[in-house]
């Protein structure tokens, strides 16, 4: 049986921490405050963290290996973060829709808007977040199990804050419906639904690229579903469709805060799309050159 001795040093102080045969689980049993998810083990103090799938014997080490440890801080699972950040907007928006007391003037408590677009907007907004919750539970296959704990506060502030801000105006007793009325609302609804289906199709396509429990990365390609044909032109069409959905919602509600939320979301998604696009290019020599990160030919 192949045997090796392993030494783990603290990445900052280079103090010897312990001798180990198997890495993360044994490390955890010696240091119970550092559960496996928050251990970053590297071959180089400033290097990339090794993955659980990495095999000790295949690493460029001799019979005595020196690894460097870094504490990633308290971790929280992606699923938990997604569920929390998406449930907030769902609930918060409904509170404004039903005009729960202390938001608007008391005479409006528990009244409903006379504009049917307000009801439609509530259905769309709620549908969007229910879809996200279901996708989190049944569709997405996450590369990383966890993220730093502080992210949940940052993310929830963003989603919950914007949801409250938008919902306040859309459900306000003095809300003004779109200038072009029925036509505008109908067009907006079509755009919104089209992009919701599109976004869902991409999520399913990405899921199917990856066998259950695996973390492999492959180039996504168009499938039989026409909504995925956008892969010909774009690396991250899920973001493209997401932008489209929110543009539809902005058009539907004709509400400046919604436009602002759409803009901020677009900026963030562009940053992510560019990053993803770059990793695709780095990892795959034969990556289709026609593709742009998020907007065909443009961005």
């Amino acid at each position: 049986m192949w045997h090796m001795s392993v030494e783990i040093l603290d990445a900052k102080t280079k103090d010897k921490l312990c001798f180990l045969d198997k890495v993360r689980t044994y490390f955890f049993s010696s240091y119970p405050q550092w559960y496996p998810a928050r251990q970053s083990i590297r071959l180089d103090p400033k290097g990339k963290s090794l993955k659980d799938e990495d095999v000790l014997q295949h690493l460029p080490v001799g019979t005595t290996a020196t690894f460097y440890f870094r504490d990633l801080g308290a971790q929280i699972s992606w699923v938990t973060v997604f569920l929390t950040e998406y449930t907030g907007p769902l609930v918060i928006y409904l509170m404004f829709y039903f005009r729960v007391p202390f938001i608007y003037a008391p005479k409006y408590d528990f009244t409903t808007s006379k504009h049917w677009v307000v009801h439609l907007a509530c259905m769309c907004h709620s549908f969007h977040y229910v879809k996200r919750l279901l996708e989190t539970l049944f569709v997405h296959r996450f590369s990383h199990g966890t993220m730093p704990l502080r992210n949940i506060f940052k993310n929830c502030t963003y989603y919950w804050g914007f949801a409250a801000w938008m919902a306040y105006y859309i459900n306000h007793p003095l809300y003004t419906p779109p200038i072009y009325g029925e036509q505008q609302i109908r067009l907006a609804l079509i755009v919104f639904l089209f992009c919701q289906i599109g976004n869902f199709s991409i999520h399913v396509a990405l899921r199917n690229l990856r066998p259950p429990g695996s973390k492999t990365r492959k180039i996504p390609y168009p499938t039989k579903n026409p909504f995925t044909w956008i892969f010909l032109l774009v690396s991250c069409p899920n973001y493209t469709y997401e932008l489209g959905s929110w543009l539809g919602f902005t058009l539907m509600t004709q509400c400046l805060p919604v436009a602002f939320f759409t803009l901020v979301g677009f900026i963030q998604m562009t940053v992510w799309a560019k990053g993803k696009h770059r990793s695709y290019l780095k990892e795959f020599r034969d990556y289709p050159p026609l593709r742009s990160p998020i907007l065909p030919f443009v961005l």
């Binding site: 105006y169 003004t176 004709q254 509400c255 400046l256 805060p257």
Partner: protein
């Protein structure tokens, strides 16, 4: 077989700004120093001429506006205070609080821009460095007090006139209450100012901490 020929590797030189960037920065800083000196001189002359602080704002209004807006890189609070508060609310312009923060900014800026100018020319007199990291002890609280008092003075007028405020209903379904916004700004000073202040104190320890070493280098 291991020995790397370290002697052949050139020592890593710190990459500073290129010649053109340096020239631009020098000119920029000289102009800013001059501008703030103009304002300072203007203040002193106006005081001597009038014999009181009354109406001092008007004497330096033009250069103040120019040098504040010209410095787009400046901290947002400065531009905001000048335009969105002091300029917009006429009634506030004769307040003593305005003099307070203008004086604080003026002195701060003269020191700061001469500091940058000299740094760029690699010839920083210790006195300037010392002044930059010491005067702030008084100038920061002075400036903050002036700014807060000015905003506070502007509040009743903002509320009465609805300045910069947007109300419902409107076709963009948006509203903005400048009065509430100003109050939030004032509240934001509570976490922000101590952070800035303690950051400067930490910087001071770092920069001036090794006074003995520095005099050897100079």
């Amino acid at each position: 077989m291991f020995k790397a020929a370290h002697s052949d590797v050139a020592p890593k030189r710190k990459k500073g700004p290129g010649a053109l960037a340096t020239a631009y920065l020098v000119i920029y800083n000289v102009v800013m120093t001059a501008g703030w000196l103009v304002i300072a001189v203007g203040l002193v002359r106006a005081y001597l001429a009038r014999g009181s602080y009354h109406g001092l704002y008007y004497s330096i209004e033009k250069p103040l506006k120019f040098f504040q807006t010209g410095a787009i890189l400046e901290v947002m609070s400065r531009v905001f205070l000048t335009w969105a508060v002091t300029h917009s609310v006429r009634e506030v312009q004769s307040e003593d609080s305005v003099l307070l923060f203008v004086t604080a900014w003026t002195v701060t800026e003269i020191i700061r821009y001469s500091f940058y100018t000299f740094s760029l020319l690699n010839h920083l007199p210790f006195l300037i460095k010392w002044a930059r990291y010491t005067f702030f002890f008084v100038l920061y609280p002075m400036g903050v007090t002036g700014e807060l008092l000015t905003i506070y003075a502007a509040l009743p007028y903002v509320q009465k006139t609805g300045l910069y405020s947007v109300t419902l209903p409107n076709k963009y379904n948006f509203s903005f209450d400048y009065y509430t916004f100003l109050i939030l700004i004032m509240i934001s000073y509570i976490p922000l100012f101590p952070q800035l202040y303690f950051h400067m104190i930490r910087q001071r320890k770092k920069v001036l901490g090794h006074v003995e070493d520095y005099s050897k280098v100079e």
